[in-house]
Structure formats: structure tokens, C-alpha cells
Symmetry: C2
Subunit: 159 residues, 2 copies
């Protein structure tokens, strides 16, 4: 199952058409590229990768497509504070879902983790409940990022 990841060929065609969007070469190329990467790619990263096979596809279309995909909930859009947005495929209910990030401040490596330790889930539930009571603030989403040093950079002497 090369570029469909077991969901059937072009499983997102239905989603696209259902939203009134047309299925185009650039959109297929971008989605296919994303499905083959597990990295946190910037628009330009994606542009360059796609460009090797489809030199005609412009950066503008990359941005427009990423915007649509993010709004459709097919990709996540993150901001790690380096001035450029980063994108990654959601991959549906089977694959990677909501997750948090460990960001190495030395080498900029980013580690996803979904296998939350029990304490973390507990922390979130209690915190959200407490904040609802204290501020009457209804939480719908959260962003949690831990900054520090990855294994390799600790050995190198931290920088």
C-alpha cells in the first residue's frame, strides 16, 4: 500500500469532493508528499520536495493547499517560534493524532509524543476542570510544548 496507507486509494478524494473542492495534481502531490514524511515541514520544505517531481507547482499553491488541508482537519499547523509555520499530516483515527512536542533548543529536533504518561493526562483533566471553575473559561484545545535538550545534545555538552 504505497501512497494510500491502507485507507484505500486516494481516500481523501471523497473528503475533497464533499467539501466542494476539486482534486488536482498539485493537491495530490502535496498530500502524497506529506504522507511519506514524518517530519514537521515548512511550506518551503514542502515546496522544494514537491518541486523535484513537479517543477511546475508554485509556492503560492503550496500555501493555498496547506491552508485548505488545515481547515479540513487533514493536517496540523504548528508554530514553533522560528518564524515559519510547520505542517504535518493528521493521518486519521488510526495514525498520529493530537500530540505534544519536545523541542530541542540546541539542534531544533522535534519529538512528537502521543503516548502520554498517566500523570500528564491527569494533569490536563484536572487543570481544565479547575480553570473552568475558576475563570469560567471553556477550553476547547491546548498547546503544550516542552523545551530543553535532546539526548544527543546533552552528550555534546549542551551548548
Amino acid at each position: 500500500m504505497p501512497m494510500s496507507r491502507g485507507f484505500g486509494p486516494m481516500w481523501w478524494h471523497g473528503r475533497f469532493r464533499g467539501c466542494g473542492y476539486r482534486v488536482t495534481v498539485p493537491r495530490e502531490a502535496i498530500l502524497d508528499m506529506l504522507s511519506k514524511s514524518d517530519k514537521h515541514l515548512s511550506a518551503e520544505d514542502i515546496y522544494m520536495k514537491v518541486h523535484t517531481r513537479y517543477p511546475a507547482i508554485g509556492l503560492t499553491t503550496i500555501y493555498r493547499t496547506l491552508d485548505i488541508l488545515a481547515n479540513m482537519g487533514l493536517i496540523f499547523k504548528f508554530d514553533f517560534g522560528d518564524g515559519r509555520a510547520r505542517y504535518e499530516l493528521v493521518e486519521g483515527p488510526k495514525g498520529k493524532m493530537h500530540h505534544h512536542h519536545l523541542i530541542c533548543t540546541s539542534c531544533n529536533r522535534i519529538i512528537d509524543y502521543t503516548d502520554f504518561i498517566d500523570d500528564e493526562v491527569e494533569l490536563l483533566k484536572r487543570t481544565e476542570k479547575g480553570l473552568l471553575k475558576k475563570y469560567n473559561f471553556k477550553i476547547t484545545n491546548h498547546l503544550i510544548q516542552f523545551y530543553g535538550l535532546c539526548e544527543k545534545c546533552q552528550k555534546k555538552g549542551g551548548d
Copy 2:
């Protein structure tokens, strides 16, 4: 104690000189302005406020000063995802310290909270310890932001 907040007049003069920085009118004006606000101000917000009293101070200097202040640890620099950085005074060990944010996705109101609910700090520590064990990642800092609807916007019907 009007513009010194009980730390003695110009308590940061020492910090500045200690870092080899000169004490200048723009720097005093910016720091004084920040000490009188409890908001999350953008560079341009700060520029406009400072500009009413000191029309000669340019936006470039605002950026340069904010950069220094952030590096010195006198102010926090945050990114709430609206494309512009936001700044707020740390206020030393007495006042506001490390805190988390509640961000209303409807009216963009931002609520600080430092009065963590019971166990929140404890749970965070345990989470960090767990992540250290699991990924051997040494956490030095974290960013936690909750998105949702503030009290007012819930009543208005949630956008």
C-alpha cells in the same frame, strides 16, 4: 512609589550597567511604560504608547530594546499565533512570574494565571520527570496555552 514599584528608583539601572548596557531615555521610557501595563503588548502597541510622551523614539529602538530586555530576562516574549510577538514585564520575584495563558479564540482576550490549581505544579514535575525517563529529554522550560471561550463569549453564543 510611582514608577519604581517598590524596588527603589530605577532598580534596573544596575542590571543594565552590569551587562555593559547604557541607560538611555528610550530604554527608561519603554521599561516605565511596561511597568504600568498588565497587558500583552505588541511592539507597535508599545511604540504607540511610548510615542505619545516621547515622539522622537522610533519603532526600531522599540524592537532593539525589547530584544535586550527579553535576553536579560526582564520581560517575557510570547507568540500567540497572530503573527506578532507580544511582551510583558516579568516583574522580579515579587510580582508575576512564570505563568500560563488562557486565550479566547473568539475575542482574543488573554488571561494570565499563576495561581495554578492544587497539584498542577506537582503533576507538571512528574510529567517532566516521566518524559526525561522515556525520551531522555532534559526539559528546561515549557509553554502551555489553553484555547477556548472566555466567559463573555460563551454568553454571546460562542462566535
